[in-house]
């Protein structure tokens, strides 16, 4: 593995179902992020984690939860999916939390909620 991996690549999900999007990085970065990308809205931050064991809410956290049990993994869970959560989800990481360094992005998960 080099960089960030996300799984699944794409998923079609029935409304009301629970879904976990997986994200793993091998760069030993402290900070990790989850974004959603919707047409015309750019990327919006859902949740973030500055270090293992801590998480924080971003701009659009409702309906999503995250955990950071270790440095490498940062799963995003939709407890009960709704159609408005149809989007492309990107995980990212950064070596520091002060905003100086660039973020590295995974390839994304395309989620459709019907």
């Amino acid at each position: 593995i080099a960089g960030i991996t996300q799984a699944p690549t794409s998923q079609i999900l029935a409304a009301g179902r629970r879904m976990t999007l997986r994200c793993t990085q091998d760069m030993r970065h402290n900070a990790m992020y989850w974004y959603r990308q919707d047409l015309g809205l750019g990327l919006r931050l859902i949740h973030y984690s500055n270090t293992a064991g801590t998480t924080g809410k971003g701009e659009v956290p409702d309906g999503y939860s995250v955990s950071r049990a270790n440095t490498d993994d940062f799963p995003l869970t939709l407890a009960s999916a709704v159609p408005s959560q149809t989007s492309v989800y990107f995980c990212a990481s950064s070596g520091e939390t002060g905003g100086y360094n660039e973020q590295f992005f995974g390839p994304g998960t395309r989620l459709t909620v019907l």
Binding site: I4, G40, G42, Y48, A92, G99, Y100, Q103, F105
Partner: protein, 114 residues
């Protein structure tokens, strides 16, 4: 309120011509400014950043950007565009009030025609 704006949804340019993608921002304090590029069905890739120092910043793939404090702009430029530069470009300032997180503009689609 702190924000970022990319006023053009799409920029069309002929191959070999100069390319400019506009970005204006409103942030308090010293701005940290980033440009990212997204190729089709891929995650975002870092292009360049301004933290401090020279106002003209050089980045990957021949791109550069000029920080203009008086105009609060950070336009992305390339002297001679290639067809392979066709992609979605995002400006992203660091917002201190958002916990040093990046706030992404809505994106500008660049189409370079042969």
């Amino acid at each position: 309120a702190q924000s970022v704006a990319q006023p053009e949804d799409q920029v069309n340019v002929a191959e070999g011509n100069p390319l400019t993608v506009k970005c204006t921002y409103s942030v308090s304090g010293n701005p940290y400014l980033f440009w990212y590029v997204q190729y089709p069905n891929r995650g975002l890739q870092f292009l360049l950043k301004y933290i401090t120092g020279d106002n003209l910043v050089k980045g990957s793939y021949g791109f550069e950007a000029e920080f203009n404090k008086s105009q609060t702009s950070f336009h992305l430029k390339k002297p001679s565009a290639l067809v392979s530069d066709s992609a979605l470009y995002f400006c992203a300032p660091r917002i201190k009030a958002a916990g040093n997180k990046l706030t992404f503009g809505g994106g500008t689609r660049v189409l370079v025609k042969p």
